[in-house]
Amino acid sequence: MIIAQNISKEFNGIHAVKNISFEVKEGQTMVFLGTSGCGKTTTLKMLNRLIEPSSGNITINGQDIFSSKPEILRRSIGYVSQNNGLFPHYTVAENIAVVPNLLGWDKEKIRTRSEALLEQLKLPVSEYANKYPDELSGGQKQRVAIARALVSDPPVLLMDEPFGALDPITRAGIRKEFQELPELKSKTIVLVTHDVQEAFELGDQICLMDKGVIVQTGTPSELIFNPTNDFSKSFFNHQRLQLELSALKFSKIWNELADAQPYSIASLNSTQSLWEGMELLSEKNQDKLCVKDEESNSLKEITIQTIQSVYLEIKRKR
């Protein structure tokens, strides 16, 4: 879907991004992860030409992004900027209508589409449509910003630290909502963050960057279990246990788990991670929980002990 080849960006002789290449497949979420100044935001902004690359090629959906005017390109790509970037002088409804207006939609279409989105994002139209951003909480603002980026149903969504301005609790909550949003299931998403946990939760692929170059690209479990260099290895050290458990999905260890009692009620899904399983176990204060695998339509049982032993087994093997 997105293919970047040998892109570089130079600011006054300093290389912010050095000759990097990557590919984001359709429907996947690619997370650019790194410390501040590593070039991740510059990379993201080159995709919609907010920053013009000094060299390199980028195609989105087979189209060379430099073949049309940048404004036209940007209208076809959803964009959520840092700190939400909502217009303070526009109401929620007006903010959401920005891109449709640029695209020349008629009023009725804008209204029905905005309403549907706001409902999905748990912002009832009657209550929120005419509010100004100042009157919303941080989490609500962020939802409006996401709605604004999704309203024209663009196939690609670029997000620059979308949850960066939120407190940790709101942040975890809205991230969850975000993952479950049906609108997002089919989107190709490029997301920038410095939050490792966020990257592991949201990313199908993680692109770890340092000093303008890509250090390693791969799935979360590849990054945590198979680091290809010292930087990757040390980058995750301070929360390794949590990350490893987050990188392991139940589907991966399906065969190691015991079958659940018939007619048990599943409270987890096999696409979720061992970490989430442990969290839920401790949250509900239960000895065991039931996990469901949609594909095979089977149920398995987990306990802290099974998670622990499976995890240790995997560690030993590697």
Binding site: N48, R75, S81, Q82, F87, P88, V98, V99, L102
Partner: protein
């Protein structure tokens, strides 16, 4: 209480004038503001993008702002002449800085994250400017317009000096004439105007961000409507008079012209500094000049004969506080040295050197004293005994006090400091009676009609006699104010109506009565 009633009565009595001055004032303010917004807003937007040009543009606008307003009006005269045009130009320049600066500040301080997300959604440069940057910068821009408005209401009072009208006519007339009511009749409305406009704009400024979009439409329309007060075309007149603010309120001036000559002439108010040149350049036809002014000769103007005697003799003499004369007995002989030395033609010649040849009054005074053998080196430069000389704000007075300075310092051990450029008769006279200066040169006719204001009968008995007027003012000033008129210097600097020689000849006007007849024939053609 009586003071207030008097002011109210004055304003009622002058309500026609007051109204037209206020309308002119609003017009001047708004039209200059409108132009300043039209120019300043795009300029501010432009420099918010071109940061390199910003310091230059803001620097130039800042320098313009530091030019004293009266000096800026002065610069305008050689470029644009007199009247509304130069006044609007000067006001425009004053309004420019706050508008440019606030537009620049307003736009550059819009949150980068907001403009970036606007770009990221695919808005182009102009869409971002009009839909995001300008609405968000509008409160700051409006604050700039507010500042500019208040500045302009104030500066517009000075427009009266160059015949552009406005409430300054009353203010400067009142200052020159010792007429508090007249000053207040101009000052109070202009202050109210500033407060009102400021308040109205503050309402706009406080409007919510939502309504800003409406404000940016409504405001220019209101400005345009107010400006139209001034754009309304005026009747073309054949003969236009330009009189100084002081002349406008004097019995030996406009009031006398109306009451004794029944002269009804379209009139603008103008500073005497630019009046002669304006007459020379055909911008004015009749002016209220001084008979010894050097520019009379330079610009080939003729005086009209005062055939009904509204102008008394104006012999110049030092007016000194009596206590100063008693304290320093050596002072009076030194001042008397100049008595009888300067006649009308000598004074005119000296004025000509300053007014037209642009020599410094100090130099003209020194040359003259040397030529007459009257100059002596100062006896003491460190004396603690100081005499303070005041002067009104025109060349002749500057020359005279420089001469007196040389005489006092050369012939006594006293030291002299000068307080030049006191705005008018009232200011000089008040400074003298309040012990802020010790003497200034005054004219007998002015002392008679501006300060003493005798009744009609007393006046008629002496108005054409030099000696009777001198004796009367000497006696009354001594009795009423403990001030002494010393011996007259010799020349008579009379008020006079003046016209261009060519025009006076072609219309065959020699006296003020001729002028009056010519005008009434014009107004009621046969």
């Amino acid at each position: 209480m009586t003071e207030q009633q008097n002011l109210w009565q004055f304003m009622m009595q002058q309500s026609d004038k007051l109204l037209s001055q206020t309308v002119t004032h609003i017009g001047l303010t708004c039209i200059s503001l409108l132009i300043a917004v039209t120019v300043g807003l795009p300029l501010g937007i432009w420099i918010s993008e071109k940061k390199k040009a910003a310091w230059a543009v803001l620097g130039i606008a800042g320098i313009l702002q530091t030019i004293p307003s009266i000096a800026l009006l002065g610069f305008m005269i050689p470029l644009l002449g007199i009247g509304a045009f130069p006044a609007i130009a000067a006001l425009f320049l004053y309004a420019l800085l706050p508008i440019i600066r606030n537009t620049y500040t307003g736009i550059t301080s819009v949150d980068q994250g907001i403009t970036e997300s606007a770009r990221g959604m695919g808005m182009n440069k102009w869409q971002i400017l009009f839909n995001v940057e300008l609405p968000l910068a509008m409160p700051v821009i409006l604050a700039g317009i507010r500042t500019a408005t208040v500045i302009n209401v104030g500066v517009a009072t000075l427009a009266a000096y160059i015949a552009a009208g406005g409430l300054g006519e009353f203010i400067f007339g009142g200052i020159a004439l010792n007429n508090t009511n007249m000053i207040l009749a101009g000052a109070i409305p202009s202050a109210l105007l500033a407060i009102t406009l400021d308040f109205l704009l503050s309402l706009f400024q406080k409007a919510k961000l939502k309504t800003m979009r409406k404000v940016s439409v409504v405001l220019p329309i209101i400005l345009l409507v107010c400006s139209s007060f001034y754009i309304i075309p005026r009747a073309q007149v054949k003969v236009l008079a330009g009189f100084t603010p002081e002349f406008m309120g004097r019995e030996d001036g406009y009031l006398g012209l109306r009451s004794k000559y029944k002269l009804d002439i379209p009139t603008v108010v103008i500073s005497d500094a630019v009046m002669y040149k304006a007459a020379f350049e055909n911008k004015l036809d009749v002016i209220s000049g001084y008979s010894t002014d050097g520019r009379l000769k330079a610009y080939d103007l003729v005086t009209l004969k005062d055939d009904k005697s509204i102008f008394p003799p104006y012999y110049a003499a030092p007016l000194v506080r009596q206590d100063v004369l008693e304290k320093y007995p050596e002072l009076q002989p030194a001042l008397d040295i100049l008595s009888g030395v300067i006649n009308d033609s000598i004074m005119t010649e000296l004025n000509y050197k300053v007014d037209y040849l642009k020599q410094l009054p100090e130099k003209v005074a020194l040359d003259f004293m040397l030529e007459k053998g009257l100059y002596k080196k100062p006896q003491s430069t460190t004396s603690e005994h100081v005499i303070r000389l005041g002067s009104k704000i025109f060349a002749e007075q500057y020359i005279l006090i420089n001469m007196y300075k040389m005489l006092i310092e050369g012939n006594t051990k006293l030291k002299v400091v000068t307080r030049t450029g006191l705005g008018g008769t009232k200011i000089c006279f008040d400074a003298l009676t309040n012990n802020e200066i010790d003497m200034y040169p005054e004219y007998t006719g002015t002392g008679l009609l501006v300060i003493l204001k005798p009744d009609k009968k007393t006046l008629d008995g002496m108005i054409d006699s030099r000696d009777k007027v001198f004796n009367y003012v000497q006696k009354e000033f001594s009795n009423q104010y403990k001030l002494s008129w010393l011996k007259p210097i010799g020349f008579n600097n009379a008020y006079a109506l003046m016209m261009r020689r060519s025009q006076a000849q072609s219309l065959n006007i020699q006296t003020i009565t001729d002028l009056k007849l010519y005008l009434s024939n014009e107004n009621h053609p046969h």
